[in-house]
């Protein structure tokens, strides 16, 4: 944060002294926690060479890479499937036909309410009761597609509904059909403004592949558990958790970073206001809508997005702060 916050004044001598004390207290608290962990690790012999030796073998790394490949493989398939399902459910829920809209709404709400892990268990443990036995990979992928697809459907629908009504009307006025209005006018704008949220949801998908561990899918954590319980390697459970955990966090951070870049580009773009314009859902008058389209807030006359609120970080509401029940 380079610019001064609006929440406090530039500190004077006394405030600087007090802030220093608070800073020291914070550092002391952090060091106390980290120090306790390092002390316990040293005390229980976690730094001994034999505990770390496992990670000097090529075959061990081959296993870890296999785990990483399984994790990423499940993620890529689940992400593509979830995006496809998301579009289908979103368009169905925006349909003019009640017979399409209501089933789509029910499916979306139910899929969103059932925990992903329960869905995975249903596919893995319960489906064999009826006949087909799914490998854990497909149980993970299908459950992730179903859950994240329904969340993405709500995100895309919110993106479409936040567009000014004039967009749709102008589309019809130039003679486009319903499909043309959706495909050429509404979707490109909705996707553009919702891209950061969509990528953030894909980070959730990546994180949730770890749930596969519980239903014996051989992803990274499964490998970590197997390595950590190997008596011949001196049971390096802490060490394997540290190594595998670092890999997991690194790939998630990488994807989150992409979301941040998308966020910055979207909010810098004049063409998509990142859902900041009041849409027609709030019952705004046409005058207000026209004014917002010209970049003026009808209520105050201020330019929209010009820091009307406490823009502490100078960006739109965080990609992860969507109001739906998205599972972290």
């Amino acid at each position: 944060m380079s610019q001064a916050s609006v929440l406090y004044d530039v500190p004077g001598p006394r405030a600087i002294a007090r802030n220093r004390i608070l800073g020291v207290v914070t550092v002391a608290a952090v060091i106390a926690v980290l120090g306790w962990i390092v002390w316990r690790m040293a005390e229980t012999g976690q730094f001994s060479a034999s505990k770390w030796e496992a990670f000097a073998y090529q075959t061990i790394w081959a296993q870890i890479l296999q785990g990483l490949q399984n994790t990423l493989g499940a993620f890529v398939v689940a992400a593509i499937g979830a995006l496809a399902l998301g579009f289908v459910l979103a368009i169905a829920r925006l349909s003019d036909h009640r017979a399409v809209r209501i089933p789509a709404a029910i499916v979306t709400e139910v899929l969103r309410a059932v925990p992903v892990l329960i869905f995975m268990m249903l596919l893995y443990y319960a489906l064999p009761v009826l006949g087909p036995r799914l490998p854990p990979y497909w149980a993970v992928v299908i459950a992730l597609i179903a859950y994240n697809g329904s969340v993405l459907a709500e995100v895309i629908r919110a993106g479409v509904e936040s567009l000014p009504r004039g967009q749709k009307e102008a589309g019809y006025a130039i003679g486009l059909r319903k499909s043309g209005v959706m495909r050429l006018i509404l979707m490109p704008q909705a996707i553009r403004s919702m891209l950061p949220v969509i990528i953030a949801q894909l980070v959730v998908t990546l994180k949730d592949t770890a749930l596969g561990f519980i239903i014996t899918f051989e992803e990274l954590l499964f490998i970590a558990k197997r390595l950590g319980s190997a008596a011949t390697l001196d049971r390096p459970i802490i060490q394997s958790t540290i190594v595998i955990g670092a890999i997991y966090i690194a790939i998630c951070l990488l994807l989150s970073w992409v979301a941040t870049i998308a966020q910055r580009r979207v909010s810098a773009s004049p063409r998509a206001a990142g859902g900041k314009r009041p849409g027609n859902a709030g019952g705004a008058t046409d005058t207000q809508l026209l004014l917002t389209q010209r970049g003026v807030d009808a209520n105050t006359g201020n330019a929209v997005g010009g820091g009307g609120t406490l823009g502490l970080t100078g960006r739109a509401p965080d990609a992860d702060d969507t109001a739906d029940g998205r599972a972290p």
């Binding site: 550092v27 519980i214 802490i238 989150s256 406490l310 702060d321 998205r326």
Partner: protein, 216 residues
């Protein structure tokens, strides 16, 4: 199908109790820690801001299963003694959810008009009073609906404890199959209970939203 539920009410009761303990225990830790971390992220102390940012970014990019893994398999090795798995699960959920609470708080603070903070500073309030008397009371109302979403997610996340020997609605299947019950029936009941609980929380959310709506 009904037999799977009514034939084992004792076990369902215990499982539901496990889920409730995880939800409220984890929620309490998340709320307290989340408000502290959220406060740190907007505070005038640069080191506190940095610590808050690192914590939030690190934990939010960690799978919850990995945090549970660390608590269930790592902590017992470190403390070298008997551990209470339910307690560890509550802490795992709390530490994880706290980051979402902190981010929701921060987003709520962002919705308060700039003039409010400026006016508060103009009458000479220090940071603590700007926050507690002016900003937070207003941010609270905007925060309630997204905060409820965080807690709905927490409720669903309690099932992850199933993988780590804590009896709750997520792990009841294993106990029921020992009693010879059909996994399909049991898991469908679990799914129905979760849909009902989530609907209950969503209803509460819309009630609170209506009552606390910000008139601007």
């Amino acid at each position: 199908m009904l037999d799977a539920l009514f034939g084992h009410l004792d076990l369902w009761g215990q499982a539901l109790w496990g889920t409730v303990v995880l939800f409220f225990g984890g929620g309490a830790i998340a709320l307290v820690l989340g408000v502290i971390v959220g406060g740190m992220r907007v505070s005038p102390v640069p080191i506190a801001r940095a610590v808050g940012t690192v914590y939030v970014n690190l934990v939010r990019n960690t799978p919850l299963t990995l945090i549970f893994f660390l608590f269930a398999f790592g902590v017992p090795v470190l403390v070298e003694g008997d551990v209470d798995f339910l307690g560890l699960a509550v802490w795992a959920l709390g530490l994880y959810t706290a980051t979402y609470v902190a981010e929701t708080m921060r987003a709520g603070i962002n919705t308060v008009p700039v003039g409010q903070a400026e006016a508060a500073r103009a009458i000479g309030l220090p940071f603590g009073q700007v926050m507690s008397l002016v900003i937070l009371p207003q941010a609270m109302r905007a925060v309630i609906p997204p905060m409820m979403s965080v807690f709905i997610a927490l409720l669903k996340n309690t099932t992850v404890a199933a993988g780590f020997s804590v009896l709750n609605l997520g792990s009841i299947r294993a106990y029921m199959s020992e009693r010879g019950e059909n996994a399909m029936d049991v898991l469908l009941w679990v799914a129905i209970i979760f849909v009902a609980l989530v609907m209950l929380l969503t209803l509460l959310q819309s009630q609170l939203e209506r009552r606390w709506k910000v008139a601007r």
